[in-house]
Subunit: 356 residues, 2 copies
Amino acid sequence: MGDNKMAIVDTDIHERAQYSDIVDRLDEPFRHYIENCHWMQEKHMPYTQPTVAGVDRADAVLLDGRPAGSDLEFMREQLLDDIGHDIGILTGALDPSPSSMHGWYEMATALASAYNDWQIENWLERDKRLYGSVHIAAQDRDEAIKEIERVGSHPKMIQVLLPIDDIMWGDPYYHPIFEAAEEHNLMIGMHHNEPPVYYGKWPRYFIEWHTLIPTAHMKQITSMMFNGVFEKFPNLGLMMIEGGYTFIPHLMWKMDQQYRDLRHEVPWLTRKPSEIMKDQVRFTTQPAEELTKQEFYSLIEQMGTDEMLCFSTDYPHWDYDSPHRALPRVDETLKHKIFAENARNFYSKLPKAEDK
Amino acid sequence: MGDNKMAIVDTDIHERAQYSDIVDRLDEPFRHYIENCHWMQEKHMPYTQPTVAGVDRADAVLLDGRPAGSDLEFMREQLLDDIGHDIGILTGALDPSPSSMHGWYEMATALASAYNDWQIENWLERDKRLYGSVHIAAQDRDEAIKEIERVGSHPKMIQVLLPIDDIMWGDPYYHPIFEAAEEHNLMIGMHHNEPPVYYGKWPRYFIEWHTLIPTAHMKQITSMMFNGVFEKFPNLGLMMIEGGYTFIPHLMWKMDQQYRDLRHEVPWLTRKPSEIMKDQVRFTTQPAEELTKQEFYSLIEQMGTDEMLCFSTDYPHWDYDSPHRALPRVDETLKHKIFAENARNFYSKLPKAEDK
């Protein structure tokens, strides 16, 4: 299966820590709580919505029962070596994200730090191909900034990861986090965490909320855009992870239309939102909607740029996209951009192709 | 300005009742409450988000101070005669919609009935061109069905109007309403009522929530689709009003993808969602995103049908679309479909062109 001639930068791989990986890195009282209280169990099925397809590829679960994504050797064998990755970007499988914890922010901050150290030691420093994400507990903003300062200069940390749930990331309260990220040449990676509940109500079926994930992504881009984050931090980029990409032309047209009509409300926004998106927002491709080649090209043309899409597998999740099958066959130049160059150009800390 | 050679079916005109128009039609104790308690004021600015552009066209407000959309003679002069409408479909300006009232459902039901009578007497029976919407208080389902049975057979009532807010319309609790609508040859018209608040939180700016209105529309189509409403009621159609149309290809692709992956969760769905949408879902065009002719054609091609879009002005709102300027110039056949035939074909009770 491996095709070594095809350059691949995979922008979304979910490595997973077990709590046993993290617990030794925690100080008291957090350690005691993790060891004794089984607190995470409350968050899981059947109290949340059943994911009818499960979460992980069945063949990615380890033979000894450890969860998918928890072992580097197995990930190498099944993904990196088999596919022939040049670069894989780890986005974590923190459930919930530290930024989504509603209480005891100190615990959230401690977990984020422990996770980052575990990630660096066991993944980033053990495989040349892997790059990582700084996890933070953004609700405790000043501690989150300290964490960015603590690990953000690591040469293989390339983005700060934020969850998509009930925080509106454009809110000025969070701007110092973006400032710290920009100072460390880190981009923002954003990934949904909870389903997009509207008006506090969950949809009736998993297929409904899985269909609506892109709407939560639109919500965050809109929040960042109209609150002026991109113009305030011109070197900051936003990677929207795992929301697909077919909504991009719609969102560009809609924001431009609204900007023409209502820009007096947001005078700090001095350029058309679509232009800002082209410069500063990127999208991982998984879960790739299944388009014909013609539909795919017309979509790229509607975007007005072929530099926004960055291939991702979403390994080891159940709806993993294979680089050989997920996207329609496009010409070599476009293929190379989507599968490698767009991500290399976006993440300023990634090696360029000639450095390989 | 009038161009009488161009057939126009306008699928979204907001006539507005003042409470003085309604109060005489209410029984006690509802009448007393409306007359004495000024209850509606609680819902209005500044307690809700300021609409930075206002709500109505300044030139649509009457000289005597009555609100825009409240007078048939003035609407004729400014809209129907000036533009040369063949048909105008009234969608109301109930704020909030009776279905959105969170308490005292009997009051909501009484208001809907009074409004429907006022609409029939003062609009539908006074202008040949105008067709109307049955307003209901759907939260009191059985009373809502009685109201559909009471006025739904009126020859000029063509749809049941539902608001888009915190009700998920695919929920089986509401299916008897769809059954009653189908029995009366009424379609469902759906119009947003509150902003799309995610996780209970309002966006910071009006431009944000106005940008995100389409996401609330996507949410309802998804709910109706995966809860099986369209297959259960094959003669029922859904008109999505005032959400624009550039998100349609995205939603079709996304639902089809999810259907392929997760259809075992919703076994009652036996066809691809995109095919069902082509048959049973339509979209009014306003607020039309400003596309080039080429972008517009590529979007239609992505939809796979030119029968989904139905022109609307949204008169008398501030972002009114003129039939002469809102859409790019397209060929005569497509123009005729969008401006008239698609709506005539969708609403089974509308006269066909030759009946004019």
